[in-house]
Amino acid sequence: MKAATLIVIALAAAALCLPPGGGVAVLSAGTERQPSVHLPWKAAGLTEREAAAHLLNRFAYGPRPGQVDEVVKMGLDRWFERQLAGNLPDPRVTADLRPLPALALPSADIVRTYPNPGEVLREAKKAGAVPQDAEKKSEDPEQRKQTRQAVLRWAAQQGYHPQKELLDQLTAQKLYRAVDSENQLAEVMADFWLNHFNVSLTDNKARPWLLSYERDAIRPHALGRMRELLEATARHPAMLLYLDNAQSTAAANATTTIEDEMERRPMRRGRGRFGVQRPPAAGLQPAAKKQRGVNENYARELMELHTLGVDGGYTQADVIQVARAFTGWTIIPPARREEAERRLARAQRAGGLGFATQGDFLFRADMHDAGAKVVLGKHLPAGRGMEDGEDVLDLLAAHPSTARHLATKLAVRFVSDQPSKALVDHLSTVYLQSGGDVRAMLRAIAESPEFWSRQTVGAKIKSPFELAVSAIRSTGAHVDDPQAAVQWISHMGEPLYAYQAPTGYPDRAEAWVNTGSLLNRMNFGLQFASGRVDGVGLDLPALHGGKEPESRQEALTVYANLLLPGRNLDPVLKQLTPMVTDPGLAQKIDDAAPRREAADGDDDTMMMNEGAARPRAARLAKAGQGGARKGMGNQIRPPRDLHPPTPLEQVVGVILGSPEFQRR
């Protein structure tokens, strides 16, 4: 979408037609006629069930009970086509999300409703609800408590909600959608792109915008085109704040667009309202000269991470030029929106002056460096405004290095940690030929022989999120309250929305599997199966038609096949079968190693001891208490009612914690 079509504001009109999310939420349609898909699983020697399971493990978050057979019945090609279209009705997700009010709010309202605690305190002081020096009295716990309560009371009167509520809704919706959505591929891709264009909730400026970022900038384009994703992320406040572009302005000695504009339109000078000396500071504070300066952060990550890749052939000079091109790309501060709009309207009446707005995005002509630029050898002439950034996005989206970078990342996500050069080459070509069409690339992956080779099946290690979601899906469990599951995911090494660096999580097995995280994966399996992940209900007998297995052997065989459909389970079953035929063996081993049991001690006492011995910081760590803490070893509270695990739960726990279940 070219800038010119969107910008040079007609504010009144824009205000009328803005969608609630503030974005251009046009789903790039699955309605385009695509040639029918042909998935070459047969040629690779897979059975149809194996192929269906592989498909569900890679292009979805694992199979639900019975889903492998459903996909076989529907036809694998057809299932994949429907996933590519991504427009299946989703009543379960609609029901899941109904209790989450933030999801329906326009982005600026979210930010106003769930403000940062620091912001609330500042406002409360300004309003006189608490003394100006409130936190200085923090040595006195009683005083501190009173201050806190006064702030909370005041915040509630303003209609503010604790930010934790927002973050809980953010993680809840991610989990609900991944578990329940019919449009699984769209979910997988939303996760992929969010990680690709990572914004972290550890950044408190970006934090309140994250929900809108995913909803308005990522999701509408998850199966769309790279250029759209670039546009949407570049303009979103979450990204503008996370990578500091919102405060990147022309250097003090540079000519801004508005200055340039005034130079060229001397007749307007006489009108007096917008002299060069006092440009209409559309945000609120004028771009004071002392606060001016280019910030390179976004420009660098745009090229290194979002598009070209680190070896993509750009220089530090390009970083500076791109940063200059994006000066003035900033946001309308939600708290001062009305004032900003009033000023913008005035600017508009004065002939536009190069300002532009869309949703929360604001292009400030008084912050943009209007000088000429050269980016990757392309000349951007002087005297322009927002077109500079748009041209850079065009240039980067169409660049062969971007094609290669994305081809590699998608191949790693869907095929294996070391995809062949041939596959990456092929996907790069598809990217360039299709104009950066995500659907075309996904299709090319699914139609590649490499995707279906036996070496590929089960070669990827599930991320903690994939592990938890696939456990919930495969057992047909019902999520009443996602927070304990979300904490487990964090505990296994993937605090959601909280990877601090703009790189996003590395997508390779070594990054997920280490001694500590592997233990947590086993523990998750055991605790999940025995109902110890609070808020997740499961009915294991119901999975098998309400029939309890007659024996350990049967429990194992039946549930391994239910939970790991379409996999060759002979090795796993062979290992465990001797126990069934020789139950005395267990006793022998117990006798041989008595010390181990004793050393583990009585666990209830142990748990209390642990709680007491652990510093408060560890216990404090929970969602919403400052992102940086999310990754810590946070104690996950099991449900109050701890029944001893039934034998069936134990069997299922071991299956879910087994090596086989860690793979996809």
Partner: protein
């Protein structure tokens, strides 16, 4: 054939305890030996703290009364303590100051146990966090493909038998520094370090043996090897050891992720489980905006870092301090000139701290440029790197861990160690 009732009564636990007989017993014996010092008694420990985000070395350790610095940092430069200003840095008496946030480290400086290396960093020009961290952690600036991290190679060069706790990262995911052939542990909370099933720990113990057998036989090499390490480690560090840990000498650690990490590293040092390399992280150094001076973002991070190190050293006490050498590191420094947002952007050289009883302390090591005018700066804007980080790491790992093969520790590096430790 079992009846359903029979399954419910006798099921479960017995199912999982199979096939682990002989290996389990030998391993337990080895673990017991290691725990009592059989594997080589007390070990030297290298503790590393990675300050992610690139610490502003010129704010941590600024030149004092420097007109050039003040000129380009109108909002960020600090005066010297002796001038008594509000915005005062601690005067180290060497022409350098110390940001007051690091005050907790001052006693170690005065005792000559703390050294600073200034204008240190990577010769690679990158200003990308990702690249620079990667290069510092692999120890091969400019080379992406290096499969191992430098700390992992250090472990491989120790030249003696090691326990599963030889290398521990207090992180949820394995840091790049510890990638490689030598097994390492990444864990955020040692108390979670066991197979757990609240309310049914006997079941968990049995399930643990079941998992052990399953993972031993999986065809997926990474899962198999990692699991093997995991179960060895479990035999060595008993839950009650962790639960009963109390820091010595009245130490109170900062209630922060780093404080929590350092407390656990102290626990591991004192538990005698064979720790030799420890890794912790400190975040929040990427101060692009509103960096602050005596107060603010930087000051908060500095206080947390210094407080965590001070608590760790106090907790170790004289009995263990000789065993331990601690160093900080950060991927690069920040622009000498402040930016338009009250912060600093990605730069080049920074500084680091080294703490240990054999450290040639109370000194600022390295070569600091004669002045901070743009002619003396890297690309006219950044503190230059006059000391390659490998010259420091090689010295520390070389002398403290007795590693001789510098060429294998840092492949492709032909420089020399920077003398920092007394013999």
């Amino acid at each position: 054939m079992y009846s359903r009732r029979m399954f419910l009564k006798t099921g479960g636990i017995a199912l999982f305890t199979l096939g682990v007989g002989p290996r389990f017993l030998t391993r337990a014996a080895a673990a017991a030996q290691a725990a009592t010092g059989g594997a080589g008694a007390r070990r030297k420990v290298l503790v590393t703290i990675f300050q992610r985000g690139a610490m502003d070395g010129l704010m941590a350790v600024p030149t004092l009364d420097d007109a050039a610095l003040r000129g380009v940092r109108p909002h960020l430069a600090m005066t010297a303590a002796k001038s008594g200003g509000e915005e005062a840095a601690i005067d180290l008496g060497t022409g350098f100051g110390l940001h007051p946030g690091f005050n907790a480290l001052l006693p170690f400086w005065k005792e000559s146990r703390l050294a600073i290396v200034h204008a240190v960093g990577s010769p690679d020009p990158t200003r990308s966090h990702f690249d620079a961290q990667d290069y510092m952690e692999t120890g091969t600036p400019g080379r992406k493909g290096t499969p191992s991290g430098w700390l992992n190679r250090a472990v491989g060069l120790l030249g003696h038998d090691a326990t599963p706790f030889r290398a521990v990262a207090m992180t949820a995911a394995m840091p790049r520094s510890l990638y490689g052939d030598q097994p390492a542990i990444a864990v955020t909370d040692l108390a979670d370090f066991r197979v757990r099933l609240p309310g049914a720990q006997n079941v968990a113990a049995a399930a643990g043996q079941g998992f052990e057998a399953l993972y031993q036989q999986t065809s997926q090499g990474l899962l198999r090897d990692t699991a093997s390490e995991t179960f060895q480690a479990l035999d060595m560090l008993k839950p009650e050891q962790i639960a009963r840990y109390r820091p010595a000498n009245g130490t109170v650690y900062p209630e922060s992720p780093l404080g929590h990490s350092m407390r656990q590293i102290a626990l591991l040092v004192k538990a005698g489980v064979g720790l030799e390399v420890a890794f912790a992280e400190s975040g929040g150094w990427d101060t692009h905006a509103q960096q602050g001076t005596v107060n603010g973002t930087f000051a908060r991070q500095a206080k947390d870092l210094a407080g965590s190190i001070e608590a760790f050293w106090t907790d170790l006490g004289p009995d263990y301090q000789d065993d331990v050498l601690l160093t900080t590191m950060t991927e690069f420094g920040r622009t000498v000139r402040e930016n338009g947002s009250g912060g600093t952007d990605h730069g080049h050289g920074s500084c680091l701290f080294v703490l240990g009883n054999k450290v040639d302390g109370g000194k600022v090591h390295g070569t600091f440029p004669k002045g901070l005018d743009s002619a003396a700066l890297y690309e006219g804007r950044d503190l230059p790197v006059t000391t390659d980080f490998r010259a420091v790491f090689c010295e520390l790992a070389g002398k403290h861990l007795a590693i001789r093969d510098d060429a294998r520790l840092f492949p492709g590096w032909t420089g020399h160690r920077l003398p920092l430790l007394h013999a």
